[in-house]
Structures are given as C-alpha cells and as structure tokens.
C-alpha cells in the first residue's frame, strides 16, 4: 500500500550531496509515497537525543513502486539539525513521518499559476511545478536569492529548459531580474492585463516577509495567494500546538497549526 496518510517510517540514505548552497538527499523507504505538492515530512533518525526534535522538510520528489520507494529532500544548512543532516552519508539511517500537512490547492483548468520560491522555498513549489507540467497547465516560476550562487542548480528546476518560464531574481542583480521576488512580481503585475489577472493564482513559499509583501500586492487585485508558512515545529502532525500562526476568519482571530491546517494557507486569512 502506498503511503498516502501520515506514517512513521525508517529509511536509508541513497545520496546526500551538495548543489550550490543546497543539499539534496534521497532516502530509500519501505514503500512508495503519494503526496500533494506542498506537503512535508518530519525528518530525524540521527543517533542521540540532541537535537531532539525532527526537522520539517518539504517533500521535493517521491518515486517508487509497490513495496519500494524513495523520497527526496532539498535543504539548506540553517542550524544544528540541518548541519547534522548534511554530514550524513549513503547508507546512514533516517526516520521520517510523512506525508504531512495540507498542500497547495489547484484551481480549474483555465487557471495560470505563478510559483514563487524565496531562498530554499523553491523546494516546496517545485513539486507544484511538476504537477502543473503533468497537467499541462500554464505556469511561471520566480526564484529569489541574494546572489547568483544561491540560486537552485539549473538542472533541478522542473521545466527549467523552457525559456521565459523561470525567472531567477537576485538581490544584487548577478543573475536574472535585479531585485527581490516581490519586486519582480510587482513589475509583472503592473503590466498584466485584466483577463490575465483573472486567471492568475499565486503559490508561494519563502521568508515570511516575502509572503506578506506579495500578498499585499496580489490580494487587492483579487489574485488568490496560497502561502506556505514555515514555523518551528515539534510534532508536525497536529498534537503539540507548538507551531501555530494567527489567522482571521469572519472577523475573529485564532491560532491555527501550521503543520495541520497548513503549511499552505489562504493568504487572506493569515495575520501577517
């Protein structure tokens, strides 16, 4: 049976190697997993209790057949946990709870999509790109980085070969658009015709500030924004209430679990 609802599994690392400032790790699992773009895993398995908690990583790719599967993660070294992951080798054990959370929702056939990935946020939107490509839906990608070297390797980008589809944005102008993803989006939105706007939907993952500013550009124009949030998590499957973010619904605010009601939220609801 494919893994399509949360399960705790033990796997073994097949590859774990750097690409630019990122690492890409493939793990052999006891079964194929089925996931929605935007869903994630809680990854652990290192020896000892320090770090204690598993780390959330977006599911970048999953392959396999009956009784045999692999999952891929793309990550950046941010602290102790990811540093530890980056030191693991082929054959080392990994444990993971997956697939978790609510992924992106896709609109009808007439929709076009902009996928925004700030920093390592691309790892969350790439599976959406793969899905849209399969569906033959129209999409473009905006990938933000501080500088050229911090962009994802070109051969990792789904549909990266299609000219005009992928828009790298660098803060220092060393590659692609000179400016942030938000700047690029503002630029394009200004030049967009109303029918195009009507069809557009934005799926985004990146720093909270990027998500906030993109939302404040797109929402007033009636463009739906799905924002994938990143909070520190203890469990990842909704039982600790540690990962909440404030949301507004029918005028009232409340705390929602990023791991369960998210990580993808309708940007209109998020209290930024």
């Amino acid at each position: 049976m494919p893994i399509n609802r949360p399960r705790f599994v033990h796997g073994k690392i097949l590859h774990n190697a750097g690409g630019g400032i990122f690492y890409r790790m493939e793990v052999a699992l006891p079964d194929r997993i089925e996931f929605a773009p935007g869903q994630f895993a809680m990854v652990s398995g290192w020896p000892g209790n320090d770090p204690l908690l598993p780390r959330p990583l977006a599911i970048f790719r999953a392959r396999g057949a009956r009784g045999k599967g692999t999952v891929e993660f793309v990550y950046k070294v941010a602290g102790r946990g990811t540093a530890l992951l980056s030191g693991l080798h082929e054959g080392d054990p990994i444990a993971a709870t997956l697939p978790l959370g609510r992924g992106f929702e896709f609109g009808g056939e007439e929709r076009t999509y902009w996928l925004l990935g700030g920093g390592v946020g691309f790892s969350t939107v790439f599976p959406a790109a793969v899905f849209l490509e399969q569906e033959r839906s129209e999409f473009e990608m905006f990938l933000g980085a501080r500088t050229r070297d911090q962009l994802p390797p070109r051969d990792w980008i789904p549909g990266g070969g299609l000219p005009g589809r992928v828009h790298p944005c660098t803060d220092d102008g060393t590659a692609g658009f000179f400016g942030t993803v938000t700047d690029a989006v503002r630029d394009r939105l200004d030049r967009l015709k109303t029918p195009e706007r009507r069809r557009l939907m934005i799926l985004a993952c990146g720093p909270r500030e990027m998500l906030r500013s993109v939302s404040s550009l797109a929402l007033p124009l009636g463009i739906p924004v799905q924002a994938s949030l990143e909070n520190h998590m203890a469990c990842g499957f909704g039982v600790c209430w540690g990962c909440v973010t404030e949301v507004r619904e029918e005028g009232k605010t409340s705390y929602r679990r990023v791991c369960k009601e998210g990580p993808v939220f309708d940007a209109r609801e998020v209290v930024w």
């Binding site: 609802r5 949360p6 399960r7 705790f8 809680m42 652990s44 000892g48 209790n49 320090d50 770090p51 204690l52 908690l53 598993p54 444990a95 709870t97 909070n231 520190h232 998590m233 203890a234 469990c235 990842g236 499957f237 909704g238 039982v239 600790c240 209430w241 540690g242 990962c243 909440v244 973010t245 404030e246 409340s254 705390y255």
Partner: protein
Amino acid sequence: MTQAAVPDIRARVGEVLLKNPVMSASGTFGYGLEFTPFYDISLLGAIIVKGLSLEPTAGNAPPRIVETSAGMLNAIGLQNIGVERFVAEVAPRLADAGAAYAANIYGRTIEEYESVARRLSGVPSLIAIELNASCPNVKEGGIAFGSTPEGLYGLTRRVRAATGKPLWVKLSPNVGDIGAVARAAEEAGADAVTLINTIVGMAVDHRKRKPVLSNVTGGLSGPAIKPVALRMVWEACRSVKIPVIGIGGIQSAEDALEFLLVGAAAVQVGTANFRNPNACVEIVEGIRNFFIREKIARVDDYRGRLVL
C-alpha cells in the same frame, strides 16, 4: 521458570485496571484521534487528552516552543477546545475507537476546576480525571495551587468532592519537597498522583537580546529531565500509599521500566511522541518482550523491586 510465556502486563492504578502500564501524556497526544493514522489507539493503557478548561482557550502567542539540549521548552498556554466540545465531539469518538482515556483538566479558579470536573463526571467512558495543578505557563493557572502542599490540598479536596471519577493529581516538579506535595494530594483524597509535569525553564536569543518564547519562560520536557523525574517518582513512591504514575523523558521501553522499577504503577509518554509517533505502542511491545525474556509474570513482580 516457564510460567511467563505470555506475561500479564495489565497495570492497576487504584480501582482502574489498564491494559498495560503505558499512557500517552497530556498535551503531547492531542485528543488521541490524531494518532489513528499511525496505530490502533485502543492498544494503549490509556490516553490522557490535552488539558481541558471550562471555555475554549486560545493559548499563548507564538513562538511557543524551542528546542534545548535533549529537551524542549513549551509555552502553549493550554490552547484547547473547552470541555463542552470535548464531551460532545471527541469523547464519543474515543469511546468508539475502543480507547481508554482520561481527561487532564485545569482552571483559573477552584470553581472552574470543579465545573470542568463535574461536566466530565457524566461521561461514562472516561476512566479518570487528571488534575493539572502544575502547568507553569499560564499566569493565572495552576501554579499557585501546585507549588505548596497547602494549596494543593485545598484544590484537590474541592475537586474530589465535585466528582465521583477516579481523581489523579498531576504534580509540579518546581517544588522543594515533592514527597510533601504528594502527601498533600493523598490526604485530600486523590486516587493517584502523576509526576512530573514540566520544569520551568527559559531560553533567550543572545543576539536579538530577547526571550525566545513569547511567554518568556516555558516548561522543560524530554530526555533531559528524565533523571530528575525518576528521582522524584522514587521519592513520591516512598512518601504515599496511593499509586504513582511516572512521567518525564521516557523514550523507550527501558526508560519506562526504570520508572516501574522505582515504584510507579504506570507511566506516561510525552515528548517522545513528537519524534516517533509510534513511541507509545513500541514501548508497550518493548515492556512485553522484556517480561517474556526475563520471565516476569506480571507487573507487580517487577514494579518497585529496586534493590538498594
């Protein structure tokens, strides 16, 4: 020496007989139903649900958690759906799943505690009420009650009078003499004491010069606190005659056995559920296998058998 081929791992907590000595700890297991994708929750000794209050509670602003060495601090602020929704929506589903479950409760006043306890008393499938007198997170919460024997005695007596359900009192470790606090609960009529709740701790960001948690302090849990928990459970077992439920840093069957060995009637597993959602059932299996290997026929043949 072949009697123990299939050991009897049932555990007795006063009048409550559990399938096995392993319970999930309040606040780390949601309302129990969240674990149904992972395993059949009726396999556990019992589930202790997230602390319930009279009204739904919003909890603290984020950040609410931060990892520490072999532990974590939490300041959830007891976010919960309130006792009414629990009784109406969750309790029936737990009963349907065949799960043994107890409700962890708290209030801002003794009267609120009483009301929650009363409301739960009418739920037939509920096996016990666990009184959280120790949560260190909410300023108006249990801290005043749980931190002195007198305070705890007063609270326990009132809640004892308010419910006919077995009453377990969960103790705060943030006290000078855990034995005295356990005795106060016993004298006030508790059927069991549960310990330990989290130890008050703090984390700061030395660069931003700010506390990491919005609540400034939080409760420390996880393997880091196990030695302290084990010592306190041992002391409590020597201080009271009522059953002691041991908790704090249990990650494996070996850890759970340690608590039984110093005298705990049963154990609870908290933070371990986060890294390994199967932790509780794996611990049940591990205890069973240990009993088989060591030819131990029943829990009482092992429990409290520490040789000094």
